[in-house]
Amino acid sequence: MRIFASLKIAGRALRRNKMRSLLTMLGIIIGVGAVIGSVSLTSGATKQVEDQVSSLGESVITVFSGNFTSGAMRGGWGSAPTLTLADALAIAGLKNVVAVSPEVRDRAQVLANGLNWNTQVMGESPDYPQIRNWGIASGVMFSEQDVRSLAKSAVIGKTVADQLFPNENPVGQTIRIRNLPFLIVGVLASKGFNLFGQDQDDTVVVPYTSHMHRITTRIFLNDILVEAANDKVIDSVQNDITDLLLTRHRSKEQDFTVRNQLELMQAVTATSRAMSFLLAGVAAVSLVVGGIGIMNIMLVSVTERTREIGIRMAVGARGSDILVQFLIEAVTLSAIGGSIGIIGGVGFSKIVAYIKDMPTVTPVTWIAIAFISSAIIGIISGFYPAWKASKLDPIDALHYE
């Protein structure tokens, strides 16, 4: 097979008809551009979500209390008080559990420095920053001793610090929660917004004992945060927790829910994956349309160049030479179209990323998939016209008008 010669001939033929070649490629350019553009945008969004979730700590398990039912009305998760401090302490005794934080939440108006701010007040254990993978920007976390003594110590988030102490170091100052003065021992590092758009820095963290006895009068927890030794034992720890709580609550029905961050991440990324499949499906359709365009033009081209085919056959081209020549023309068209589409798609996603301030990622595998599939489309759509050309009879072809 004289591939090199065929390449040369195909190149000359395409250059002779630049405008037509470009228009023929347009379908593939748009198809591939759409695939690459949409995949870049959705994988950028997915990556952002994954980064956020992993910043929560991948081996964290959350136990929510059950839902409250009154008559036919059912509350959401955490609406029924079922989790107790004793449950949390029992979980802490399980195998492969490295840290536990009983969590109670309440919204309250906090005052300091002559300013006030409505924020979320959380009761947690000293393990909280470790579990949430959250650093302390200044000062320290309150201690186990503070928990035992129901100490009036608090650690505040960046937003609260900014709102109440615009130009001062909050550490060592006093903040009033429900009229009780708490000593600020530390400021949490900034963590930004979570997956659901909540400002995670808009918070005040106090020992759970102080929260349950001083700020509120509660005996039930909202949820329990548990950190497993690593993400491989998450499933077994989760099962252990479920078994333990079922036994402790002596209930047949599960009055609590156990979730881990991995599941959460999967739920969120599943949405964006579904989105990207949808977009890829649309793009695949336009690729097929592009392929039909190439086939159409190649058929026209074969008819138009019947005489040329006859001349080539007369001077010694075999059927296979003609086949390869037209196949290469089709593949060159679609491969160049695919390459332009890839560049265009990446460019488009970069522009969107710049304008909308969104991260975009173009996976190399998708570039390879786009390029290979456009080449394959070239082969498929070029084959029939090329085969038709190769089967022409040289005498008929030479006398074709």
């Binding site: 010669a5 001939i9 005489r307 006859g310 001349i311 056959m313 007369a314 001077v315 010694g316």
Partner: protein, 241 residues
């Protein structure tokens, strides 16, 4: 034998024709006499339904499509009535084309050299980069001859090569053929013009698929001399007016 519809037509029958290296033969006949069929068979574009055809020591009648293509490439050079050059392709590239299909790969620079040499032979070395639409009919036919020569074929086949040319250009083209034939190239030419046939060395006349005449040309014309006479006559007309 040809199959057209239900009736078998014997386009050429009982023909026995031997052409030796170095000959310059004109095949003549009215339309429908079997010229084209003979030409297609001789050019290995078609195979006979019966009978055989030996070309340069090979029984071509038994070869398959691909083998025929290779024979055409290596042993036969075609010159057509309608020139049949590739449009929007330079004379040089047109001349290079048969080498693209050669069984052994020929390097690009060698292709160029061979093509330039062939163009020089037909006197078009200085127009190598011209496209067909920038060339006159005679020049296009010369490019076609260069293309036919480039693979050094054993046989040059010309199908009405002067059919689309005026008389002076026709004589010029015949001059090219005569020059090539003097260098030892075998030429078979189909024509229906008697005066054109007189430039060859042997005339074969066909009628209804049979050879009815096969004679050497006694009063062979010399294209060079004819051209000189023609120019002199034109000069005379110009002077007279």
């Amino acid at each position: 034998m040809y199959h057209t519809g239900e009736v078998d037509v014997h386009a050429v029958r009982g023909i026995s024709l031997e052409i030796f290296p170095g000959e310059f033969v004109a095949v003549m006949g009215a339309s429908g006499s079997g010229k084209s069929t003979l030409m297609n068979l001789t050019g290995c574009l078609d195979r006979p339904t019966s009978g055989c055809y030996w070309l340069d020591g090979i029984d071509v009648s038994t070869l398959d499509r691909d083998a025929l293509a290779d024979v055409r490439n290596e042993k036969i050079g075609f010159v057509f009535q309608g020139f049949n050059l590739l449009s929007r392709t330079s004379a040089l590239e047109n001349t290079e084309m048969p080498m693209l299909y050669h069984r052994h790969r020929i390097q690009s620079h060698e292709q160029r050299d061979h093509a330039m040499h062939a163009l020089d032979l037909v006197g078009l070395g200085d127009r190598a980069d011209h496209h067909p639409n920038q060339l006159s009919g005679g020049q296009q036919q010369r490019v076609a001859i260069a293309r036919a020569l480039v693979n050094k074929p054993s046989l040059l086949l010309a199908d009405e090569p002067t059919g689309n040319l005026d008389s002076q250009t026709s004589i010029e083209i015949m001059g090219v053929f005569q020059k090539l034939n003097d260098q030892g190239i075998t030429i078979v030419m189909v024509t229906h013009e008697l005066d054109i046939a007189r430039y060859t060395r042997r005339n074969v006349i066909l009628r209804d698929g049979n050879i009815v005449g096969d004679t050497p040309v006694a009063d062979r014309l010399n294209a060079e001399k004819e051209l000189q006479q023609l120019r002199a006559a034109q000069q005379a007309v110009k002077l007279a007016s």
